[in-house]
Assembly symmetry: none
Homo-oligomer: 224 residues x 4
DNA sequence: AATGAATGAGGCTTCATTCAT
DNA sequence: GATGAATGAAGCCTCATTCAT
């Protein structure tokens, strides 16, 4: 992950490693600033200072402030994709876990992703910047929702495709919102409770869909 | 919170009809700008132009840009409070509606609130500014959640108080997130579907709690 | 020239006149800075300070630094055009002055133009900026040379058109260069002598062409 | 002016072949950049890249960017001096060429100097930098004009010394300006025509002075 | 000696806020 | 009160120069 192959012992990690470390520190600092004050209120100078470097170095790696947001988001997305790829295979296995377990696993996975740092808060608290930073029409949630829709296709096959997208969007937005609250909270027990409650909510919401049919008797299912 | 008379700090609330109209136009213009480009990217000049006035007039009514956000949020909150007051009395009536209807009514009421203009998007899309604008530790959602907790007290009396707050927060954040998506969508049918789905979700989530007990058999209820 | 029509006596010149004066002061200051240190070495802050205003005011009138150069050049060009228009009519008159007088008049006119301020030095000492400031392919000298070519058409009708452009260019570049030296010199007598010498040079150069034919015997005329 | 040995301030003049080549490449690259975009718009990085080295190497040889301009100008001047030295001796010879031939030779020599590379354009297109780079009060043209004055002393001995300087300056500025236009032109035939025209102009201008007296009847000679 | 990553001063420009009219 | 020109602090970004490798 760090360098390609083991350099001659005791040498030559320098520039590469130095650079890489600096890059990481900058990204981390940016995420912290973005999470704490918002993208717009964060200054590149402050980010550099927090990263222990100079503005110049920031611009060595990133063409502008937006690009910092973009890099953070991309990183996060890459990891999120990995996660999904993993749960996908798990979920697809002939003897895969029941869907409830899948919800638990997914929420936990995302919650873990969030805990890894302030990146999560930086991204979801500044979503309007995503479009600018990742290409005009791009939306992170859209991408994640598309993957959730695929899961639904397996676990709620009778759900009408159009409805499926609606449900996927609902799931993603809800999970995101609740995990965001959890991530923002200073109080760890509360965070944990929030994560747990998110699971409860999602499972109650999805249960009727997952039952294999659209649960005709459920009072909450719209007739239209 | 800000009493009607006694025009303290935030400059004076205009009385003359002319002024009042201008004040409203400014707030409306600000909400539109905030919703469209975000608070930070909106300039006071643009807001004034959109309102058909001059910067000077904006500063006649508002001490600074943040105050515009604050005023929009306050207005929104005031209306939300009214709504709650109303549903409260309805819900409290001896022969009040069943809780499911209450969910429908509330979601619809909020959805209507959103439709009244871009204020909703302006507020929820720029939440980080809420603290700055409304006082350091203030959070809109907290206030709304507190009122939801009161409703829960009536409809899910057996829910442990601590849990109640958690549930209230969950409900508010979820509803907010989903209505935000609905409000943001360009596509009206999708918006409507989203609102409908929000009701479904909330009802499925709350049903076990509302059943009068913590629904011991529900698989989603955490044991801890 | 200043305001369109006499305002009610004792009133309403204010804003208009104020603004206009500021605009002029800024342009003057810019010309001085550009002439003294070059466009690139001049800072907008210094220009504003020299003009007795703030940067903001500079940007109220000009979108960027280049535009200052552009405005100075345009102004100069407009006046130069006026001059030419004038000499044109004089030169075209049935009993117009002999061409030698025309050279004197033109050089004097331009020399006067230069004396009006540092604009001349600002422009000709920073010519490379002309293209950027006035539109990609634009060149001031080209425009002036084109007008000189018209004069040549009258006074040296036998000169081959292609040659005419060459001569016009030569005249303009030479006059410009010499007047530039004169304008740059701190020593007024030297400046005057330089201007006089420029006339001498141009007249000696043009005499053979003006004689009505290409002066076959002139040893300096190339055979090719 | 800067003696060849004794490598004082401006860092050391390289001796090793490798170094020498690099030094030359850097200077050439700098001249090209300066000619193409101007001194201020050229970055040291771009120069290094064009020279196929690194910034560090540039600073090995030159203490700062100005010094690059200075070195280019010095080099050019050195060659110009050589040229003059040569024509001097030619012109001084008992049976030297007539002055007209000398003009042709000189213009051609300078034109050749220009063609040797972009150095000429780099220097004359960025004259404001000459003072900074070569010492506060220094002016290249002054030095060249001084040498031309020496030639005049021989060929127009009756010219009053004060006048002589004026004429020398006029000659230098004119020649420079015209050759600059020629050097800048993309179109080779036009360049050649321009050079030819410059000879024509100079010969017509100098003829009366060279005739050995101040040509009393010449209409262009000022009486003052 | 060569390299190029790191530094940070400083320039351009924006825009919240003030204030003269 | 209303207007919008004026102000200037502050942010983004560039690039000359330094310095560790």
């Amino acid at each position: 992950m760090t360098s390609r192959d083991a350099p001659r012992p005791g040498r030559r990690v320098p520039t590469q490693a130095r650079s890489r470390a600096r890059y990481d520190r900058i990204l981390e600092a940016a995420a912290e600033e973005f999470a704490a004050r918002g993208v717009d209120a964060s200054t590149v100078d402050d980010i550099a200072a927090r990263a222990g470097t100079s503005v110049g170095s920031v611009y060595q790696f990133f063409p502008n402030k937006q690009a910092l947001y973009g890099a953070i988001a991309s990183r996060y997305l890459a990891r999120a994709r990995e996660l999904f790829e993993h749960w996908f295979s798990v979920a697809m296995a002939p003897e895969g876990p029941p869907w409830e377990a899948l919800v638990d696993l997914t929420v936990d996975a995302f919650a873990a992703l969030d805990r890894d740092g302030p990146a999560f808060r930086a991204i979801w608290g500044n979503l309007p910047h995503a479009a600018q930073a990742l290409g005009e029409a791009y939306a992170i949630n859209r991408e994640i929702a598309a993957r959730v829709a695929l899961l639904l296709e397996r676990h709620a096959p009778t759900l009408h495709p159009a409805r499926r997208d609606l449900v996927a969007t609902t799931v993603v937005e809800t999970m995101t919102a609740l995990l965001f609250v959890a991530a923002r909270a200073e109080d760890p027990p509360f965070s944990d409770a929030m994560v747990a409650e998110a699971k409860v909510l999602l499972k109650r919401y999805l249960a009727p869909y997952a039952r294999g049919a659209e649960a005709p008797r459920d009072p909450g299912t719209p007739t239209a």
